[in-house]
């Protein structure tokens, strides 16, 4: 049975390595600052005991005043999961580091998130639109795109 | 009346080739249908017999498209170059031999021209068609076509060698290059006398006419329709008919070279063109069987098969036949026994070795 790790526990383990990088945590989620996401991801993957070797899903949500980028992580060795989130305030010039180097599985998913929400993932080797064509007007999954 | 004879035979050959090609197309679709648990085309005419006619009418009414950036003249010429040699092959195929046959007797072999270099003629003529494919592949200005043309060259150049070497075995055993003499020499069908040669020729010829499992030229899952991707209407039909005409040609040649042509096995019944036609159908059925069973090989595997499997075996076969020819064994039943056993042994040993060399473990 998969156990969902609580954000608080993981936040404690993160606090030594990444002081002031965790915005918020609760029983289910862990919010980290956008600029730290790649390092945190690497830490989560490589730390024994956490071993989050599998990025199940990566997506974004538009909350009007901010965007959340949501990472659903899993560990195939320990069979536990964690929800990692990043809050990007504002609606323009959204960018955060790419986690492709940590999990290759983020490749197409980050491109999709860029396509649908206009969030730039810096460091992604091929940051192009995935499903719509080049020159498509706007980013369709934003709440203001009708 | 030499001229009359020529005209009659040209008409016979055209009628034979075209009607058989039509029949083959229908047969292929029906028989493969049976292999695949479905009826196949059965709506047009009795048992779907008019299906090829309907297809022909449909395809002739289609627009003839030439790619805008292609080489227009080469594009137009290519189907003709690819199709014509298929018919030329039949010029030397003997339908019935001299002397009494089933029902009637002939005073000379029933062939358009009983060439003294008949076997060589067939090999030479059938190597022309690849030029048509290359022309089509080049002139279409399409990458799939170009890839197909390159595959055609690789395939032709490699399979020609074992093919010809396996024919040389026949020529040694029969002592002639004329197809009629080869048939006459087969008191024991050469398939028994040279089983290895038959295997090599059949596989090589299957590859030469691009039939499964060597149908890399028309590997629709890889390169769409390869050299005839850009063809439509009449010109596509010529490629299509050409393919089946070659299948017919290979069936006929295999029948002549290895199955005793118009002779009934072991002379139990008088000779007749009927046996010849029956053998053609038999060989064609064998091709269909292979096609509906086996997946396609990859291009490098196909090349390796030609050079590492067929070529050594064809040399072995040649050596074997030549040794029997000069020794006291001769080409009788003793040779049949030896050759069948050796053929099985060689194929098994070499097949195992072939796969070990390629690093493929089975299990």
């Amino acid at each position: 049975m998969t156990t969902a790790l609580s954000g608080r526990d993981v936040a404690q383990r993160l606090s030594d390595q990444f002081p002031n990088m965790v915005n918020l945590c609760d029983g289910s989620c862990l919010w980290v600052k956008p600029e730290a996401v790649a390092e945190v991801a690497k830490f989560l993957r490589d730390t024994p005991g956490l071993d989050f070797d599998y990025l199940a899903s990566l997506t974004a949500v538009d909350f009007w005043d901010h965007f959340d980028v949501v990472y659903h992580l899993a560990s195939l060795q320990r069979n536990h999961t964690l929800v990692l989130r990043c809050q990007l305030p504002g609606r323009q010039n959204l960018a955060l580091p790419s986690v492709v180097d940590v999990w290759r599985g983020a490749d197409l998913q980050e491109r999709e998130a860029y396509d649908m929400f206009g969030i730039q993932f810096t460091g992604h080797p091929n940051m192009k639109r995935l499903l719509t064509w080049e020159g498509f007007p706007g980013h369709p999954l934003r709440k203001d795109w009708l | 009346m030499d001229w009359l004879r020529w005209i009659i035979f040209v008409v016979i050959i055209l009628a034979f080739a075209l009607s058989f090609v039509m029949a083959f197309i229908l047969l292929e679709r029906r028989i493969v249908g049976k292999f695949q648990l479905r009826p196949g085309p059965n709506r047009v005419g009795p048992m779907g017999m008019l299906q090829p006619v309907a297809d022909a009418v449909k395809i002739l009414l289609k627009e003839d498209i030439t790619p805008a950036k292609g080489d227009r003249w080469v594009h137009r010429l290519a189907p003709i170059v690819a199709f014509a040699p298929a018919l030329l092959v039949f010029a030397v195929v003997p339908f019935q031999g001299k002397g009494p046959g089933l029902g009637f007797s002939l005073d000379q072999p029933a062939a358009l021209a009983d060439l003294n270099v008949g076997v060589l003629y067939i090999v030479a003529v059938s190597s022309i068609s690849v030029i048509g494919m290359i022309m089509a592949g080049w002139a279409s200005n399409n990458k799939y076509s170009l890839l197909g043309a390159m595959r055609a060259i690789a395939q032709m150049v490699s399979y020609e060698v074992p093919l010809v070497l396996s024919i040389v075995g026949i020529v040694i055993a029969s002592g002639s290059l004329s197809l009629n003499s080869i048939v006459e020499a087969q008191s024991i069908p050469f398939i028994l006398l040279q089983p290895l040669g038959f295997l090599i020729y059949f596989l090589g010829a299957t590859a030469e006419i691009n039939r499964a499992p060597f149908d890399l030229l028309e590997a629709e899952s890889e390169i769409v329709a390869s050299y005839h991707t850009e063809y439509s209407g009449m010109r596509f039909a010529m490629f299509f008919l050409g393919e089946y005409a070659y299948a017919l040609g290979v069936s006929a040649i295999v029948s002549v070279l290895f199955l005793g042509g118009y002779k009934f096995p072991f002379g139990l019944l008088p000779q007749s063109f009927i046996w010849f036609l029956a053998k053609i159908f038999l060989v064609f059925f064998l091709m269909l069987w292979v096609r509906s069973t086996l997946p396609r090989v990859r291009i490098d595997q196909m090349m390796a098969f030609a050079w590492k499997f067929l070529l050594p075996l064809s040399l072995v076969n040649l050596l074997l036949v030549a040794a029997e020819g000069v020794s006291t064994i001769g080409f009788g039943w003793a040779a049949v026994g030896i050759n069948v056993i050796l053929a099985i042994a060689f194929v098994v040993i070499w097949a195992n070795r072939f796969y070990r060399v390629k690093g493929v473990t089975v299990g």
């Binding site: 990025l55 599985g105 490749d107 | -």
Partner: protein, 367 residues
């Protein structure tokens, strides 16, 4: 003297006989050898996630059918399970067993199609495909019996199923379950020891274990690479923890392993079906859930082991009647991540069968 050749860029697709739909592979070739490959998709993009935001939770069920249209039931199931998790409702036991039955039938049907078209890509000229269609046809008849549809079922509901199975369904399913192992053996005989199949698939399109995990592969692709990871075992949903079955895995991660995993999974699915039929309890098939579900504020990520891999639904609720955000984790799309690594340096024919062995459906890749 080194031989130099001109590289060719070939756009395989969007209209190509072997890309399983409107999918494009931009392949750079040196002769026949692949030096680069880029998958291009989106030709079938319909904005399903956006549509979800304008529909009630129940109204979205038919749209899930149209994602992976070869395993619609599994899509239904993944979605309704996610919504049920979000709304905190549960389906009655009979519905749970029936859902398992539907999901496993769907898995068999999908794998038949996947293996069949994969062999077709290999140039087997439709014979294996049509053999497999024979059994898929029987499955589609069964589905038709249940919900009147053969492709897009729309059978699952939030809190259960749309209606109970008809009386003639179970005998027909029992007969199918009895016959199916024999047919699986038949496919196996057709192909398993074939020299050409072995030569084409052994050591080709290898996805190493580490890369498979890192590239978020799932389903038969992940298991073919030797990772024993099946959500039915590791994160059981419905009643899978009460049923006995094995998780087949490959050793090398090549095409042959993926193919073997699919064949074995069919056998295991038959096993599950046998047990599920035996234990199918009587009772209701739908718990009392209103048509307009108002889940509490929150979010949920529900995932199931769909035939093609981990199918996840990430739903965000703002207490409205429609999801605020609905993200779908499509296994077909994410399994394509490693396609380039799998085919680099291989022949063009290998790229085709590697794609075939990943088993994608473009309705799901593009959504």
């Amino acid at each position: 003297m080194a031989l130099r050749t001109e590289p060719i860029v070939v756009n395989m697709g969007p209209q190509h006989p072997a890309t399983h739909g409107v999918f494009r592979m931009r392949v750079t070739l040196d002769g026949e050898v692949i030096t680069d490959l880029e998958p291009v998709m989106g030709y079938l993009h319909r904005g399903v996630e956006k549509l979800a935001e304008a529909r009630t939770y129940t109204q979205f069920i038919p749209l899930t059918d149209r994602m992976d249209y070869l395993s619609s039931m599994s899509n239904n199931l993944a979605y309704v399970l996610a919504v049920e998790k979000l709304a905190g409702v549960e389906a009655p036991p009979r519905a749970q067993y029936l859902r398992v039955i539907m999901a496993e039938m769907m898995r068999i049907s999908n794998h038949l199609m996947a293996v069949g078209t994969f062999l077709d890509d290999m140039g087997a000229f439709h014979t294996p495909l049509l053999y497999m269609f024979r059994e898929r046809e029987k499955l589609l008849d069964l589905f038709e019996m249940v919900c009147g549809q053969r492709l897009t079922y729309n059978y699952m509901r939030i809190g259960g199923l749309s209606h109970d199975i008809p009386p003639e369904f179970l005998p027909a399913l029992k007969k199918f379950v009895r016959d199916m192992p024999g047919f699986v053996d038949e496919y196996d005989q057709l192909i398993r020891e074939n020299e050409i199949v072995l030569a084409r698939t052994r050591g080709v399109g290898v996805l190493p274990r580490a890369l498979a995990i890192n590239a978020s592969a799932s389903g038969p692709v992940l298991r073919g690479s030797g990772v024993k990871w099946d959500l039915r075992k590791t994160d059981p949903y419905l009643v899978y923890d009460k049923l006995e079955f094995d998780v087949p895995t490959g050793a090398v991660g090549d095409i042959y392993d993926r193919y073997r995993v699919r064949i074995e999974e069919m056998r295991q699915s038959v096993r599950i079906l046998e047990q599920a039929i035996e234990r199918l309890p009587p009772g209701e098939v739908r718990s009392d859930v209103p048509h307009l579900v108002h889940p509490p504020r929150g979010e949920v990520y529900g995932h199931i082991e769909a035939p093609k891999g981990e199918l996840g639904f990430y739903l965000v609720s703002d207490t409205g009647i429609a999801p605020y955000r609905c993200h779908i984790r499509p296994p077909s799309l994410i399994n394509l991540t490693a396609l380039r690594d799998m085919v680099l340096g291989m022949k063009i024919a290998d790229a085709i069968i590697t794609l075939g062995s990943i088993d994608i459906v473009l309705g799901e890749v593009d959504r």
